[in-house]
């Protein structure tokens, strides 16, 4: 690992000040991904700004919304009674990710900013446009079973590995940030970018811009929600495909509203707006679920080893919607 300076920020403004003008500075959360990347020389920051002690609160408002500080540990969110009651899909997504030890270390901000687990990104001897812009991509013609089927480009087929972000995308969450130019809020679904020609630029955040919190707006029907993760082993593995969904049905079985996001399929948590649009206002039937999945996956493209994910995503989405439509809870 290359040497670096370590500084502990006293508050978000201090963190921003410490990062100002230092393009090779990184904010440090639990370190569960960043420390590993530094050991592999994929990340070589000259300064680490420790922000784990900042933004520790989960604040609930009467309207049903929640504001989760960026320094809150993943375990703390999943254990929070308000999260479990109002947004069970978020608790379930977090609990399906990583291990107990890692969830105890990992922060919300770090979870959002974690990097892909594409093997070629970690392998210094492989070509990777994300690691070295313009170098080429060894995943496209390599072993690409875990790679993207939606929104990929000839430059990059990596996926975003987070489970938590898939639930947050479905919940229309927003990300609050602070930087030298002030505070701003953007939608989580707009934070991560598709790879295009610049897969090394993964988010819309500017250098030195710090995530301070995640806001979840009220969603009355999130109580009727699910997070289903399909993976190679029963626990402690990244998703091949995951689905976060919430369904709001009228008494006669019409879809009043629906939220869907997919994980493991793209360079970002994939909000399935086409599937949602296909479902809204229609009857909740197996046939309509199939049509919605078809609408979302029409543009999906498989590589040599990952084409199975298209059918897997289709079936997982249909199964989730069927499960939700059978539940008799509100």
């Amino acid at each position: 690992m290359m040497p670096f300076n370590y500084a502990r920020a006293r508050d978000p403004a201090d963190a921003v000040r410490l990062a100002a003008g230092r393009t090779e500075a990184r904010f440090l959360g639990g370190g569960t991904n960043l420390v590993d990347l530094m050991r592999e020389s994929v990340e070589v920051p000259k300064t680490l700004i420790d922000v784990t002690e900042l933004s520790q609160e989960i604040t609930a408002r009467d309207d049903g919304s929640l504001l989760i500080g960026a320094g809150v540990k993943n375990t703390t969110i999943a254990a929070d009674r308000r999260v479990r009651e109002r947004f069970p899909l978020l608790a379930r997504a977090i609990l399906s990710g990583a291990s107990g030890q890692i969830r105890n270390m990992a922060t919300v901000g770090g979870n959002i900013m974690q990097r892909t687990r594409c093997y070629y990104f970690y392998d210094e001897s492989a070509r990777c446009n994300k690691r070295t812009p313009g170098a080429g991509c060894d995943a496209i013609d390599g072993f690409n079973r875990i790679h993207a089927i939606l929104g990929a480009s000839p430059a990059c087929v990596a996926t975003h590995p987070s489970d938590m972000c898939v639930a947050l995308a479905a919940l229309d969450a927003s990300v609050h940030t602070v930087s030298a130019t002030g505070h701003r809020t953007l939608k989580l679904a707009d934070l991560h970018r598709l790879p295009g020609d610049t897969p090394h630029i993964e988010t819309e955040l500017a250098p030195g811009e710090l995530i301070t919190a995640v806001g979840i707006p009220p969603c009355s029907f999130a109580t009727r929600s699910v997070y289903r993760k399909v993976r190679d082993r029963a626990s402690y593995a990244f998703a091949l495909v995951s689905v976060a969904a919430a369904l709001d049905l009228t008494d006669n079985g019409t879809v009043r509203d629906v939220r869907i996001a997919l994980g493991g399929v793209a360079h970002k948590p994939w909000r399935a707006e086409k599937a949602e649009a296909a479902l809204r206002g229609g009857q909740a039937t197996e046939a309509s679920f199939q049509l919605a999945a078809d609408a979302e996956l029409k543009e999906a493209r498989g590589l040599r080893h990952n084409a199975f994910k298209i059918e897997l995503a289709r079936r997982t989405l249909v199964a989730c919607l069927a499960e939700l439509s059978r539940r008799d809870e509100k």
Binding site: V35, A79, Q101
Partner: protein, 169 residues
Amino acid sequence: MHFNVNGRDHEVEPDSRTSLLDLLREHLRLTGTKKGCDQGACGACTVLVDGVRINSCLALAVQYQDRAITTVEGLEADSGLHALQQAFIAHDGFQCGYCTPGQVCSAIGMAKELERGIPSALTEDLCAMSMAWTRDEIRERMSGNLCRCGAYNGIVTAIETTFAGESAR
């Protein structure tokens, strides 16, 4: 820098790159905590910080100054081995023993999580106030600790008998 490990205070000046695992093993000579993968995949390095289990290989030591760190060396009481350590012996919870310190520390942290009502991926009712001790729950909650000898059945039984009591069996 000040570190508190197993109730003892230490003044050490590690490099900012030093992991908590290397601090324990190389600087403090507490070699009970093991280095397996050194990338958070195997759990052999699991220690408790303020009673919470973490992977010490992914933890930079500088981040854990002034915290109460417990390693396998700190589990023994005046009366002898920790009850869970005795149970690992009684139920063949290991063969080579390399993963055992991490398994034991992880299980102690896991038991506290379960007693506090923190759900797992297997928990059916997220709003339940208390969680059941089942073998499947133990397996799910211990999935961050690998045992290449495959002593899992013994590990689960050792944890179950120590923490779940006879009523859960």
